[in-house]
């Protein structure tokens, strides 16, 4: 990378452009986990997550990131999941979040190795 000799730089845009988001993998995920879209963003999962306080893990945010094309951010959070299943216990929509984490890893991980 070129050294920054001017003392300032341009930050990449954090805006989400839905026109450029490829939804194919998320749709594949929905076929296996149709309840994934029923999340109403209540935040119970993140509030109970033992990893959240230390790592920023939040299955709610993971789901949102995947839908907005921010896969890298989702994986960074998900790598901290310990699969304890507390989030599944508290989810008011009855989403099997623990299984969801495993399904995400399987579907999106498959893409990584291609």
């Amino acid at each position: 990378m070129m050294e920054n000799i001017f003392g300032f730089s341009i930050s990449p845009s954090s805006a989400i452009n839905m026109d450029k988001v490829d939804r194919a993998l998320f749709e594949e995920l929905c076929r296996v986990e149709p309840d994934a879209v029923r999340c109403m963003a209540c935040g119970s999962c993140s509030a109970t997550c033992p990893a959240a306080a230390f790592s920023g893990m939040s299955i709610r945010k993971v789901l949102l990131c995947l839908q907005r094309g921010k896969e890298k951010e989702a994986f960074r959070m998900m790598s901290n999941c310990m699969l304890c299943g507390k989030c599944t216990m508290v989810c008011p929509r009855g989403i099997n979040t623990r299984r969801l984490v495993l399904s995400i890893s399987r579907i999106y991980g498959k893409e990584d190795t291609k």
């Binding site: 989400i16 452009n17 839905m18 907005r68």
Partner: protein, 338 residues
């Protein structure tokens, strides 16, 4: 002598009230400003959450009010208060003397062009919930027909919960209407992606939450929490919608072929005008003020004057019908006490 009750407004509240008054042996007179009965419901296609055809409801109600006196294309010219009755002069020259007036004057749909930033009346891709229902009914709208529709957006709370638009109230039914219309559009354009931009989803009624879940799970409709900030047009004739995805905390942008604005319910000007003839008070939300918002929602502060339906605030169809029945019962007890 059969007591006369004048019903102002031939929408569903007026029709239901007239039919119940007939059942009780009174003689209702409906005064309707337009040339047809059924009000807003007559312009709607299907109703949530069971997709009941709106036409069935209007025709059933019209059938039941056959015995009533109905004046179409008629307005109230003026109302004089006599000692213990009212003298109503209609625009067709007829004058009626009655002790009981029922306001079923309903609401108006918010004029979406007032929210300039959404581009209604500016861009051809932007329509309202009312336009969409009309298209469901007639199949004719140059903004929808004959176009390739791949991406559709819905904007909730247009003119509702908006103090700058002078409507701080929630219009109550648009959340569920947007979900209903999104499902209907998905059925018409199965390959389309549909996005709903909302601030809150207020799904209070029977089966509403199930309907919402169904929209997400079975129809794949997407929900983005954030109010649309502006709409612009690109060179290909599509509209670009900008908002903040408040759950992600990031600005979001999407290009759409069709944008539906969920216009809210506001008080109708005719309703306030007629109420003004009797110096009836208007509530802080602009709708007619009941004598009490808990116990006496159908009573006005004036003797012999009653309200039913959306003239006192946004209401669903079943709520409006229930209120019409309740107002009739109230009138009935007044007459029986005489």
């Amino acid at each position: 002598m059969k007591e006369i009750v004048v019903i102002i407004g031939g929408g569903i509240a007026g029709l239901e009230a007239a039919s119940k008054l007939l059942d009780l042996g009174y003689s209702p007179i409906i005064v309707e400003k337009s040339g047809r009965l059924g009000g807003h419901v007559a312009r709607w296609n299907r109703l949530f959450p069971d997709m009941t055809p709106a036409a069935d409801i209007v025709s059933e109600l019209t059938e039941r009010t056959k015995g009533a006196n109905i004046f179409l294309n008629t307005e109230i010219s003026f109302i004089n208060r006599l000692r213990d009755s009212y003298n109503i002069k209609l625009s067709n020259g007829i004058s009626i003397n009655t002790s009981y007036i029922l306001f079923t004057t309903g609401f108006s749909l918010f004029e979406a062009e007032k929210k300039e930033e959404y581009g209604y009346g500016v861009y051809d891709q932007v329509i309202t919930n009312g336009d969409l229902e009309q298209w469901f009914n007639t199949g004719e709208d140059h903004r929808i027909s004959g176009k390739e529709i791949g991406h559709i957006g819905f904007v909730h709370c247009v003119g509702s919960r908006d103090e700058k638009a002078r409507n701080s109230q929630c219009s109550k039914v648009c959340c569920i209407t947007a979900i209903k219309q999104a499902i209907e559009l998905k059925e018409k354009f199965p390959d389309a992606e549909i996005w709903c931009f909302y601030m809150d989803l207020r799904l209070f009624g029977k089966k509403f939450e199930d309907f919402y879940t169904k929209a997400q799970r079975d129809y794949g409709i997407h929900f983005i929490r954030g109010r649309v900030s502006e709409v612009s047009e690109n060179i290909e004739g599509k509209v670009i919608v900008k908002a903040e995805d408040t759950l992600a905390g990031k600005p979001i942008k999407i290009t759409l072929d069709l944008l539906v604005l969920m216009s809210g319910m506001v008080c109708s000007q005719d309703s306030t005008k007629t109420a003004g003839m009797l110096s009836l008070p208007v509530d802080s939300d602009g709708f007619l003020k009941s004598s009490d918002n808990v116990m006496h929602i159908t009573s006005s502060p004036k003797n012999g004057i009653f309200y039913a339906g959306a003239c006192t605030g946004p209401k669903t169809v079943p709520e409006t019908l229930a209120e019409a029945r309740s107002a009739v019962l109230e009138i009935h007890s007044h007459i029986s006490r005489k």
